[in-house]
């Protein structure tokens, strides 16, 4: 089975400081669901940045979608990034665009015709319960609403890899469950999902999800054999 992501002895340091991530080796397979946990400052966000190609590592090798991501020419990055959906911890919505336009942004960037994106975006707005707020700017939305828009934007393009940094941090438990169901639905359609979270309750919501635990920039399972996670998964009844 071809992997979606392969990390081999990857290290990341910012500037001349100490390594933020050290000796990361793991493989993510298509259609798998991973939770990334760890204390604050453990390096979760840095690892996600490597996953959504916002940074290149200081050392080691990364293969994404079967290609060497380290030597990937800059002009080929957009094509790879379009296969990745990202939910940022701080949402990073475009403040002067409406909720509708924020969600439609990845499709427009990918060159989807306007008539072809109206339906999916409207449907997505309905799914996250923001149909009435389609024209609202992010500043007028609550934190939870903004988070839902950010998630809708990340999943609208049906990415092959979905990377989410604390995606349920600002929503109530019901909405958190619904959003995770959305991730799970995408996952069943073949999307590989990586969710960084502090919320251990979320781990119980997804069947067959695997856990990656970061501790001071290192995976707690140094072998990275995530097919055999370091501790048993708690499966949903």
């Amino acid at each position: 089975m071809q992997s979606v992501v392969e990390f081999d002895n990857v290290g990341l340091r910012y500037g001349t400081g100490a390594e933020t991530l050290t000796d990361l080796s793991f493989t993510l397979y298509p259609g798998s669901f991973y939770f990334l946990t760890g204390a604050s400052g453990a390096g979760k966000t840095s690892l996600l940045k490597l996953l959504y190609l916002a940074h290149r590592p200081s050392r080691g090798a990364i293969r994404m979608f079967g290609h060497d991501a380290i030597t990937l020419p800059r002009e080929r990055l957009p094509g790879f990034r379009r296969r990745i959906g990202v939910v940022f911890q701080d949402f990073r919505l475009v403040q002067h665009l409406s909720a509708f336009d924020n969600i439609a942004l990845p499709l427009r960037i990918a060159g989807i015709q306007e008539k072809d994106l109206q339906g999916p975006v409207t449907e997505m707005l309905a799914w996250i319960g923001l149909t009435e707020r389609a024209d609202a700017r992010p500043a007028t939305l609550s934190g939870g609403e903004q988070q839902r828009v950010a998630i809708a934007r990340a999943v609208i393009g049906r990415p092959e890899l979905l990377v989410a940094d604390e995606p349920t941090g600002n929503v109530d438990p019901d909405m958190a469950r619904r959003l995770l169901q959305l991730f799970a639905a995408l996952n069943r359609l073949g999307t590989t999902v990586v969710v960084a979270t502090h919320d251990i309750h979320l781990l119980q919501e997804i069947e067959n999800a695997q856990m990656m635990r970061l501790d001071k920039g290192r995976l707690s399972d140094p072998t990275g054999q995530l097919k055999h996670p370091p501790r048993p998964l708690v499966l949903k009844n």
């Binding site: 002009e75 990055l77 957009p78 379009r82 475009v94 665009l97 960037i109 990918a110 306007e114």
Partner: protein, 298 residues
Amino acid sequence: MLLDFALPAHDRKLIPEGRLSGPMPWVIAIMLFLTLLVAAAGVTLADAARKGGADLASKVTVQIIEPDPVARAAQKAAVARSLRSVPGVSGVNPVPEGEVRNLLEPWLGSGIIDADIPVPALVDFRIDRVPNGQMLRAMQRRLESVAPNIRLDSHSSWMAPFFDLMSALVWLAVGVLLMLLVATSAVVILAVRSTLNTHRGTIEIMQMMGGTDLQAARLFQRRVALDALLGGVVGFAAATAVILALGGRFAAVEPGLLAGATFPWYGWVLLAIIPLAVMGLAMLMARWTVVSALKKML
């Protein structure tokens, strides 16, 4: 690149366009106004130098210095006859004595010159090429056989410093024009960098979603093009008004050295092209600035 100007409405919303709200259109209007004035001055000088040069360079005047009016008139007629028989000589014009007196009047005062004051007789003619010293000496020897006391003045020799000055001014205008274009480019680069910093978050989001450098550059190109267009219209209108007003003043100047200083038709074509060229240059600079800046991001 012009196709980049026409972006879908939703793409235009990504970088809000505050037309005429920022200083860019006004700065471009001022730069373009100056550029057009310099270009107009350069074209006018070049045209005047070309016309005047062509007119005067081949012109020669024979001065017959003979105190006896009867002998002077005879020598004048003889010189004219002799010149008409020379191959390559045309436009032989014995200048009437009254005209010569009129020419001297501003220098000597009116009513002072009477028949008792001998004035030289003049014969103008043209040669089919710019005369050199050897040609003039041969001509002088030939004419001295009919008028022993003559002097040949080639207009090209005494006008040369003036036309050299005009030529230097034309090149100065070209230099100033290029400097203004460089300054305009610098203004565009600074403005685009500033806008890029303001909207860095939006551009980073676009990049993370798979937006290409050129997609981002197009947003800035459009904004800069609109600013350049608006600045161009204002700058062109102001420059045209000034050129037309100065043209009226030039027309009122008595014929002389400035007689050839008219604004030719191709000058207007050049003036119309410059704002479009500035717009194209601004778009090119915007694209280059954005793509260069984005290359520093992953």
